[in-house]
């Protein structure tokens, strides 16, 4: 089969229902491909790899592997512009979250997210605050910040996020499908 033809037997017709059961993905099936989201998205405007309309279409058709293994589902900046305008209330940022959550369960995660988890684990915050930053703060009359990672680490212990972020929960399915 040529590159341009997808054999429907490789598609997963249950994927859209799986997404619908995931919090945030309930309305995906309502999408009627109008293009509002793609037209509004500031990320799409600079990088056409992230095309929300196409991502939703792929998910609707059942291209499970392509969607879950991709890096484009991680590019949504959750600006909510599409959410404001979608005529079918698909709630795209939340949908992207839902797909990401399914992806993580399959052992797929974008390295940037892994580094977020690592940073949070190490510093209790996404942006490190070190001596340099605190000096500047005090000069401006702001109180210094003491990094406190303990609480965050407790949450991480409880939710097993480190394993998920490292992709260790995966058992090698999803990305490794037969043929192509």
């Amino acid at each position: 089969m040529s590159d341009d033809v997808i054999d429907a037997e490789t598609l997963d017709p249950d994927f859209k229902f799986e997404i619908a059961k995931q919090a945030g993905g309930e309305n995906m099936k309502l999408c009627f491909q109008c293009g509002t989201c793609s037209g509004t998205c500031p990320v799409r405007a600079i990088n056409d790899k992230y095309n929300p309309r196409r991502i939703i279409r792929m998910a609707l058709l059942g291209m499970r592997k392509e969607v879950l293994c991709s890096d484009f589902i991680w590019l949504c900046s959750t600006c909510y512009a599409c959410h404001e305008r979608c005529p079918q209330n698909v709630r795209i940022p939340e949908l992207m979250m839902a797909i990401r959550n399914i992806a993580i369960r399959e052992g797929n995660i974008h390295p940037v997210y892994t580094s977020y988890v690592t940073t949070l684990d190490g510093h209790g915050r996404l942006l490190e605050v070190g001596e340099f930053e605190n000096e500047k703060r005090i000069k401006l009359g702001l109180p210094g910040i003491k990094e406190e990672a303990a609480r965050v680490r407790k949450l991480f212990d409880h939710t097993k996020i480190r394993e998920k972020a490292a992709g260790k929960q995966a058992d090698e399915k999803a990305c490794k499908t037969e043929g192509s």
Binding site: M1, C31, F32, T36, C37, S38
Partner: protein, 1026 residues
């Protein structure tokens, strides 16, 4: 207008106690109240008035016309809206049996079907309706200017104004909110019509039925900030653009940018603004916007050559009769660009105030376009304040605020005796509104048919004087029309000139020749001066021709001894800058009119008896409803069906999305028809011969080996449609490939195994929207979804792909499309250039279709493939059309007299059509068309005699050689050559006086009365100084 009202029982006004029902004089009242004076309300009113009922036509605004009066042109014929609307409004305005109640609203309705009390509150105009002639002096002199709502605020009007120039009634109104009370209008009004003291009036009407036709209101896109309406000056709505396109609109017919008055070069239309949207009130489709955007793009380009319109759409819903042809022409001939994209937001570019739109093209590339102007195609909402009225009237509304109607009785409301039609039922276009209005009229009449004729006045006239042998004695009345004529033409000079003309024994001028008191003056003069010809020099005959003819008749003269000279539209209005020349022209026009008047002869229209029965051809749901409708109104009906069983296509409809039981309904309907004493049913029957004309048809029906001749007054053609027999997409090559109807049947009989992981592919538009059959079959998108949802109901795990060119689930059917998507049904779009490829390989169906969003083709191996084949007219239509001498459209459906305003009439009088015979449609649409055809038929059957026109053609048999030219050119089938005599014979009752035969006759053997060669040439002679 105030009906006698019995005294209110004591305690009626008190709160808490239910008021005692008011007593009625008779048990069924032969009157109907029509609420709403737009095109639908007007049509219903005219049908009823023509069928022997008294009608009260109640309109909220100061004049009739509704939204249609605001349009420039109408799709798909590009007719001028006002040109086709105004004659209906004028007819309603002056109909004997119609009482207009304008500037009024219904407050309460009490009573039961057949006997209602309708309380109407009429707000004061401060202008006396019986005196105002609409001359307009007051408007000219009024010092106050405010934005004009009719022109969407793009133009100003005065505080005293008429709704629009061609308004019926032309009565002016004072806007009390802005009037400053200066008193100028009262001083200027020559008719003394201003009355500052007028108060609210309460009217109590006794009626038997009520029809609601309140129309709709435009969706206001202001709150959708992303489109910038109201903030960006060059963003307008479709109705704003429509007003710009109108020649008498704010920009004189030019499309101009509101920001700087410049001519736009590129203009974008954005579809679905306020429709198919997520807000719970905006989920439905407004059905007409696709078509009106295409229309506006075409017309805007016509007005502004070089204009480049772009239409951004999601689905282009051109589902009506010949609408797809219009769409194709727009793209191919007019170069209008159609872009599949929902525009999400608009940015304004400074300082030009242009508008930037971002979209993705077919390949997925992001594009930015800058436009000079953007038009928002806004949806239709229920009319203003209708919810409160519906609540008071106890009418149920659907969740969108439109009127709820039952599927098999689409003009009924939840309250018996109150009917409904038009946009208030569902957003719909003019032809559907008009047909439905006739449908509502039939149902409203049906319940009160026993009271037909009871409340209508039959006009009686004095005996006509014999004047044919007298010397002509002409009276000329020259009208000043306030300042409309008098301000340009020297009317006294014209009067003086008229006196010098041969044959003129009296001339005078009036301020308003059309006013009520002037009619009395004219009659007095006729008596005084023994006038036997009357000439009125005033406006166009279109406005007051019938009025003056009526006055002349009331004075005992034959009404055809009357001639008009148009010194307003043809003179003062177009030559207002050159008064001296205008006066000379006016004199010339009067001279011509007088010259013709000398040669006028009395004409007596023929009247023929009507056979009070109807022939219904076709025994499906449409024919059955038509026959029953006629019978229930007291007329005999003959129903002829070619198959051995009644029911037509409904035999193959097993379930409906609404959950209604189609077969159960049909069984009941067939039983009603077969058992009705007035209906005679012929099955397995065919028409053998057909002859006659309006009111007097003779048809021979062959059935059971014998032939029977039927005499009837009207014909209703309801011959239905068939599913196309196709070979496309490997139909016939695999048992799993079937049509939509076949799939429905198999699902109903549980012959389809939907268990497990069954995959279905459904391909739309099979045989529709192609070369050779360009039309849309209208119902298939919805019917396919119906099957798909049924399959999902049986097995949610079934995989279903629907492949379509556009999804045309219009109106409230959009909700089913949404449900289908929610159930996980996948929709893939294709077009004629990229049709799905179907093959059968080793006993397996394979479907390959390209998905443009993903940019790859999908190869699916479904267990079942359903094809939505076109609905085609039965091949018998050709033969039937020849037999009845009625035309077929290019798609071989029957062709009506006028696509917009006479969808159920043939041009040949007395013959009507309904249902699929007209074009593909849904069950509810078939039913209201059937009702509508009944109403149209009853305008004839309700009379004992039918009077024709006086202006008809006549044949000089000596000159006639029987060449049949007249027969070929007559659009009404009114003249035929009698083969026995080889001479043309005119069926005068059908002749409309168009003159085509007279123009075509090579022997000058056939001439038009009232427009004979002698008469016309005498007018021409006047021009050359004769």
């Amino acid at each position: 207008m105030n009906a006698d009202k019995p005294p209110a029982p004591a305690g009626e006004e008190g709160a808490g106690t239910a008021p005692a029902p008011k007593a009625h004089k008779s048990d069924k009242i032969g009157a109907v109240a029509v609420v709403g004076g737009g095109i639908a309300g007007t049509q219903a009113a005219i049908d009823l008035a023509e069928s022997g009922f008294k009608v009260y036509l109640i309109e909220r605004s100061p004049s009739l016309g509704g939204a249609m009066a605001q349009l420039d042109k109408t799709f798909p014929t590009n007719d001028c809206a006002m040109c086709i609307l105004a004659p209906k409004l004028v007819e309603a305005g002056r109909h004997q049996n119609i009482t207009l109640i304008t500037n009024a609203e219904v407050a309460e309705v009490e009573g039961v079907p057949g006997a209602f009390w309708v309380t109407v509150k009429k707000r004061p105009r401060l202008v006396d309706e019986s005196k105002c002639t609409g001359c307009g002096i007051c408007t000219q002199r009024c010092p106050v200017e405010v934005p004009d709502e009719f022109n969407k605020g793009l133009k100003l009007r005065k505080a005293i104004y008429v709704k629009y120039p061609q308004a019926v009634p032309p009565t002016h109104i004072i806007d009390q909110e802005h009037c400053i009370g200066c008193g100028i209008c009262q001083k200027q009004c020559e008719a003394g019509a201003i009355n500052y003291a007028e108060k609210d009036t309460i009217l109590d009407l006794e009626v038997g039925s009520i029809i609601l036709a309140p129309g709709f209101q435009e969706f206001d896109p202001g709150p959708k900030k992303e489109y910038g309406y109201g903030v960006f000056p060059n963003v307008v709505t479709s109705l704003d653009l429509e007003r710009m396109l109108v020649a008498v609109g704010p920009y004189g017919g030019m499309v101009l940018r509101p920001s700087d008055g410049k001519v736009p070069k590129k203009i974008a239309f954005i579809q679905c603004v306020g429709s198919r949207d997520r807000d719970i009130n905006e989920r439905y489709c407004s059905a007409v916007c696709c078509m009106f955007a295409v229309k506006e793009a075409i017309i805007a380009q016509e007005h502004m050559p070089g204009l480049k319109p772009y239409i951004f759409f999601m689905d282009l819903r051109a589902f009506g009769k010949e609408f797809d042809d219009y769409y194709i022409r727009a793209e191919e001939e007019h170069g209008i660009k159609f872009i599949l994209w929902k525009v999400s937001n608009i940015e304004q570019v400074e300082p030009s105030k242009n508008l930037k739109i971002v979209y993705e093209d077919w390949e997925g590339n992001l594009k930015k376009e800058e436009f000079d102007m953007v038009v928002l195609s806004v949806g239709m909402r229920p009319p203003k304040d209708m919810e409160a009225l519906a609540h008071r009237l106890k009418i149920d509304l659907n969740n969108y605020g439109f009127c709820k109607t039952p599927m098999f009785a689409p003009v009924e409301t939840s309250r018996p005796g109150i009917y409904v039609c038009g946009a208030f039922v569902v957003p719909q276009d003019i032809p559907d509104s008009v047909a439905q209005a006739s449908g509502a009229a039939a149902r409203a009449a049906s319940g009160i048919s026993a009271a037909r004729g009871k409340l209508v006045t039959v006009k009686s006239y004095p005996e006509e004087k014999e004047v044919a042998d007298e010397e002509p004695r002409i009276g000329v009345f020259v009208c000043q029309c306030g300042i409309n004529i008098g301000g340009v033409v020297d009317v006294p000079a014209v009067e003086a000139y008229a006196k010098t003309l041969p044959g003129v024994v009296h001339a005078e001028y009036n301020i308003y020749t059309c006013s009520f008191d002037t009619q009395s003056i004219i009659k007095e003069r006729i008596r005084e001066h023994r006038l036997n010809r009357v000439v009125v020099a005033s406006c166009t005959p279109r406005t007051h021709g019938p009025l003056f003819m009526n006055t002349v008749r009331e004075a005992g003269l034959n009404p055809y001894l009357f001639e008009m000279a148009n010194i307003r539209e043809h003179c003062s209005w177009v030559h207002s800058t050159v008064p001296a020349e205008a006066t000379e022209k006016a004199k010339e026009l009067v001279r011509m009119a007088a010259a013709k008047a000398r040669l006028l002869r009395p004409l007596r229209p023929i009247s023929i008896p009507i056979v009070k029965s109807g022939l219904v051809i076709g025994g499906g749901i449409t024919g059955l409803n038509a026959a029953l409708g006629l019978a229930e109104q007291g007329f005999d009906a003959y129903l002829v069906e070619k198959e051995s069983e009644l029911g037509g296509l409904t035999k193959r409809i097993y379930f409906d999305l609404s959950g209604e039981d189609v077969h159960g309904y049909m069984t009941g309907l067939i039983e009603k028809v077969r058992s009705h004493p007035r209906i005679k049913v012929f099955t397995g029957a065919r028409l053998k011969s057909f002859s006659g004309y309006l009111g007097n048809f003779k048809t021979t029906v062959a059935h059971d080996g014998k032939e029977e001749e039927l005499s009837h007054g009207v014909v209703i053609v309801a011959t239905g449609g068939d599913p196309l027999k196709t070979e496309e997409y490997s139909y016939g090559k695999h048992p799993g490939i079937m049509t939509v109807l076949e799939l429905e049947g198999k699902l109903a009989r549980q012959e389809i195994d939907v268990s497990g992981r069954k995959t279905f592919v459904m391909i739309q538009c099979v045989g529709s929207r192609e070369k050779g059959r360009t039309y849309c079959s209208r119902v298939c998108c919805t019917e396919t979804i119906k099957n798909a949802l049924r399959i999902k109901q049986l097995n949610p795990k079934a995989a279903i792909f629907i492949l379509a060119k556009d999804m045309r689930t219009y109106g409230f059917r959009e909700d089913w499309f949404r449900k289908a998507r929610d159930e996980g049904i996948v929709f893939i779009r294709f077009d004629n250039a990229s049709k799905p490829a179907v093959s059968v390989e080793g006993g397996q169906i394979a479907v390959t279709v390209k998905d443009r969003v993903v940019g790859k083709s999908l190869k699916i191996k479904p267990d079942y493939l359903a094809l939505a084949v076109a609905t085609v007219p039965p091949p018998d239509n050709l033969e039937l059309a020849k037999l009845l001498k009625v035309p077929l459209s290019k798609d071989r459906f029957f062709l009506e007299a006028h696509m917009k305003l006479r969808p159920l009439d043939f041009a040949s009088e007395g013959i009507f059509l309904a249902g699929l015979a007209h074009s593909p449609k849904f069950i509810e649409e078939c039913v209201f068309q059937a009702n509508g055809a009944v109403s149209r038929a009853c305008t004839i059957l309700s009379r004992d005699r039918f009077e024709g026109e006086g202006i008809t053609s006549q044949v000089d048999e000596e000159k006639c050689t029987g060449c049949r030219t007249c027969e070929f050119v007559c659009p009404y089938g009114a003249v035929k050559v009698d083969p026995a005599k080889t001479k043309a014979v005119v069926a005068e009752v059908l002749c409309k006086g168009c003159g085509t035969c007279s123009a075509g006759c090579p022997k000058r053997a056939i001439t038009m009365r009232q427009f004979t060669n002698e008469q016309i040439l005498s007018q021409v002679d006047c021009l050359s100084g004769g």
